[in-house]
């Protein structure tokens, strides 16, 4: 009879395969240990990640994705300095899969690493664990030469949502690299402070359209009365993506004074934008904007039609 059920083997027995002379045999043992999903496998995998064969080390780095906690993190951090690029990269990916905040204990020391790859990976790994001790090293990393490090550092700070980091983020919002500026502006979303507001409004004038888009989008969360005027200016941006986000944010902010500027945009040929304008005109519910909506209540685009009807309903029959 062919075996019926998947087995739950003894971990020590599975680990005997790690003594195999051939790397292939050791790889198989690593795979079996990972499939066990039993934390007792962690010490064996921590040993396998220092195997003499790069293939075994890479497999062990991947296998550790199935586990969590400080011992797993320590093994992975150790592998960030591996001589083989595939092993390093596998370890870095596994590091971002950790969920247990205690795993951060093993990552924190790596946040002062002088090695660019180790530092980037450690920042990416600690981000989701939300360890407040990471704030200081992450802030320091904002001045690192490599933009990949600076982006990872912004990630850590944004997830911590700590007002004391505002200055650092605002500084990053004027970074030389567009992707860093973009990440920093998006990270400001947690703060309703004046300073965040001003930085985002300034971002609407950035030379890179994706940065302007990020600023327009984030103002929906962080904006205040002071953001309305710059957002209205952004309604005329060269990129429809930026205009769309500006419309949406004006709706979120309840900026009724923008309604008459948004109304004529219903005529534009870009369906995504028209949909958004109709929805926002409904949210703002300014009676004078009926004239812009009326012609489109039977629009050929079902989403536009739906939004226009909803908007007209909100505005009321006078």
């Amino acid at each position: 009879m062919t075996a019926l059920f998947e087995e739950f083997s003894d971990i020590d027995e599975l680990a005997e395969g790690l003594e195999d002379d051939a790397p292939g045999g050791r790889i198989m043992a690593v795979i079996d240990l990972a499939d066990s999903a039993d934390p007792a496998a962690i010490p064996y995998l921590a040993k396998a990640i220092t195997d003499e064969d790069a293939g075994v080390r890479k497999q062990a780095a991947q296998a550790l994705t199935d586990f969590d906690g400080p011992a797993t993190a320590a093994a992975l951090v150790g592998a960030l300095g591996d001589g083989d690029a595939a092993v390093r990269e596998a370890a870095a990916i596994s590091l971002t899969e950790l969920k247990d905040p205690a795993a951060g204990d093993a990552i924190l020391p790596a946040l002062s690493s002088g090695d660019e790859f180790t530092l980037t990976s450690a920042l990416a790994g600690i981000k989701e664990l939300r360890r407040s001790e990471a704030m200081t090293p992450a802030s320091a990393a904002l001045t690192h030469m490599a933009s990949s490090v600076r982006i990872a550092a912004v990630g850590v700070i944004g997830w911590l949502q700590d007002e004391t980091a505002l200055d650092a983020l605002i500084q990053a919002a004027s970074d030389a690299e567009a992707q860093v500026r973009r990440a920093a502006l998006l990270a400001l979303g947690f703060s309703q402070s004046e300073a965040a507001n001003a930085a985002l409004s300034a971002g609407l004038g950035d030379s890179d359209w994706q940065v302007r888009e990020a600023a327009a989008e984030t103002l929906a969360k962080s904006g205040g009365p002071g953001s309305v005027a710059p957002l209205i200016t952004a309604l005329a941006d060269d990129y429809w993506q930026v205009r769309l986000k500006a419309v949406r944010s004006l709706g979120k902010l309840g900026a009724r004074e923008a309604a008459m500027q948004i109304g004529p945009m219903m005529e534009l040929p870009i369906p995504n934008l028209r949909k958004e304008c109709a929805a926002v005109l409904g949210e703002l519910a300014v009676p004078e904007t009926r004239q812009f909506l009326d012609p489109f209540s039977d629009d050929s685009d079902p989403d536009v039609r739906k939004n226009v009807r909803w908007a007209l309903d909100r505005i009321g029959a006078d």
Binding site: D20, A22, P23, G24, G25, I27, M28, I31, G55, Q59
Partner: protein
Amino acid sequence: MPLAHTATSVPVTIDDEKCIADKGCTVCVDVCPLDVLRIADLADGSKTAYMKYDECWYCQPCEADCPTGAVTVTIPYLLK
């Protein structure tokens, strides 16, 4: 009604040099949702995986999960 032996090109190929079927590895055979891969004995006494049945969805778990990078999935010729 005898059956024909019609040749067909297969989308999954295995690098015998890299394959560790010798060590008891059956990862690609295990993960194939359509169960089209098998292990063959080679003339020199070693083993390797190969595509036995031409029933492939070119979905790629065999390539993604192979521990030694021995498996390559291409698009079946009829679709190319």
